[in-house]
């Protein structure tokens, strides 16, 4: 690891994340002292998982660019595997599913080559057509539409969206002198996760009016609006360190992340509700599965990516 090669701002920001986690630990410690009758196990488990996730993420982001890219591919793999394990699949589609998995390393190669045109169409054009064609060639048409639809959607919300995060790392280095592509990824991830947390906290504190009780009974207008305001404020605060955004652009970016994060979260809730499950797996103690944690990112990553590429000169 060559720390001098990593933009200073990224290291400061990572230090900030860990400082925030220490504060979270202190708050839980105080809460336990003040209200010993309440059970804080769930909260403690959540924060412990945050430590693990933040450490793994920090390591993967600072070691080496190709390690960062393969780390994202691995996260896509875990998320896609989790998705396939919770949806109904057809026995005859084993080979098709194998091909769908192969999309992840191939997509990573396009990203490493910096071949944007291929990266952006590989999954939604070639992979989608190829998977459907494979299913046709197998010759079993019962449940075909459902099978092809669920498989494509799975690849879309895992490999394709997380791939956008990876592609930001291979953006040309000089466009963002403050922190490079890594800075944008960090900006996206920090804002998305803090948006989740702040919507949760605002909702817990002031939540009254439910947004869509049928999908997610915990989502309230108060939580949503509080979250949007907090995320926009953070986006504006962090932008000078991690991005090349002007004040106006940072506010738009914050609004996009807040809104998209909310929708991503709801989409995963809808999927789980449809399947009749509570968590997508038990991989991350206190959080559920990896998809439970990535739900908001699956929406924020591509939308933030495209916003960035719109404001980026000469993209």
């Amino acid at each position: 690891m060559n720390l001098s090669k990593i933009p200073q701002n990224i290291l400061w920001m990572m230090g900030g994340i860990f400082a925030l986690l220490i504060v979270a630990n202190l708050i839980t410690f105080l809460l336990k002292k003040l209200r010993p009758q309440k059970d804080y196990n769930e909260l403690q488990m959540r924060i412990r998982s945050w430590w693990v996730m933040a450490s793994v993420f920090a390591l993967a982001m600072t070691l080496d660019k190709s390690i960062s890219l393969w780390f994202m591919a691995f996260v896509s793999f875990l998320a896609f595997k989790e998705f396939l394990s919770i949806i109904p699949t057809r026995r005859v589609d084993r080979r098709v599913i194998f091909w769908a998995y192969m999309a992840i390393p191939i997509q990573t190669c396009w990203i490493m080559m910096g071949w944007y045109d291929m990266f952006i169409i590989f999954i939604p054009v070639y992979m989608f057509l190829w998977l459907a064609a494979q299913m046709v060639l197998i010759g079993d048409t019962s449940g075909f539409l459902k099978a092809v639809g669920t498989l494509q959607w799975g690849l879309m919300i895992t490999a394709f969206t997380i791939g956008h995060m990876a592609y930001m790392l291979v953006f040309p280095n000089d466009f963002n002198p403050n922190a490079g592509g890594g800075g944008l990824v960090l900006y996206l991830v920090i804002l998305t996760q803090l948006n989740d947390v702040s919507q949760f906290i605002w909702g817990k504190s002031f939540g009254r009016n439910k947004v869509i009780p049928k999908v997610s009974p915990n989502k309230t207008w108060e939580g949503f609006l509080g979250g949007v305001a907090t995320t926009i404020a953070l986006a504006w605060l962090l932008a000078p360190f991690l991005t090349f955004f002007s004040v106006r652009e940072s506010i738009i970016a914050g609004a996009i992340i807040a809104l998209a994060g909310f929708l991503g979260d709801l989409t995963m809730s809808a999927i789980k509700r449809d399947l009749g499950i509570k968590d997508t797996s038990q991989l991350v103690p206190g959080h559920g599965g990896i998809l439970d944690r990535l739900d908001s990112l699956t929406y924020t990553a591509p939308l933030f990516f495209h916003f960035t590429s719109f404001v980026l000169p000469n993209f």
Binding site: K81, E82, L84, P88, R91, S281
Partner: protein, 210 residues
Amino acid sequence: MLKHIFFYLCVKPIILIGLGLNVRNYERFPKKGPAIIVANHNSHLDTLVLMTLAPQKLLRKVRPVAAYDYFCSNPVFSWLSKNFLGIIPIKRTRSTKDEDLLQPCYDAIEKQQILILYPEGTRGKPEQMAEFKSGIARLAQKYPQMPICPVYMHGLGKTLPKGSFIPVPFFCDVFIGEALKWNGEKQSFVDSLRKSIEDLQKQGHFPEWE
């Protein structure tokens, strides 16, 4: 030794990272021999997953009971399965009238080992449980104090079903039940064993696989 190298360098990383295990009630996994782990059988991976669950000190003692005619069909495969997995090969047909085919199992139990046994006798159709054979009842009857631990596994039949060679990753659920002991009657013992595995199955939520 070979078994440990094989498991720690090859099997464990592939299973824990490539598939991912969701284990319920791990505290019920046998902590010492003699004991028998009884599970439903869908895939060659079943044995590797169950052995992956064994703590390092116990791994040497865990012995899968396997069909002699399949695993010892050629000398290379036979050597590999004996040294890397430590299988107990069992013949399926008697050569003389009073030969007890379970004799190798008795020997292993006497040596305080932990057996892995699939009472369905074969992997059969993926993710479907076949009839249980009675060998497990004979072992339980002979060693009435020995704990017999029922395990239900789901997902491996999708990952690598009988007749397939390319594994396709899916999460693997492993639900471990309360250990049973011999209850005095063969058929009711087999029935209660089957029922406890079916009850474990009902604890889970498994998507359709048609």
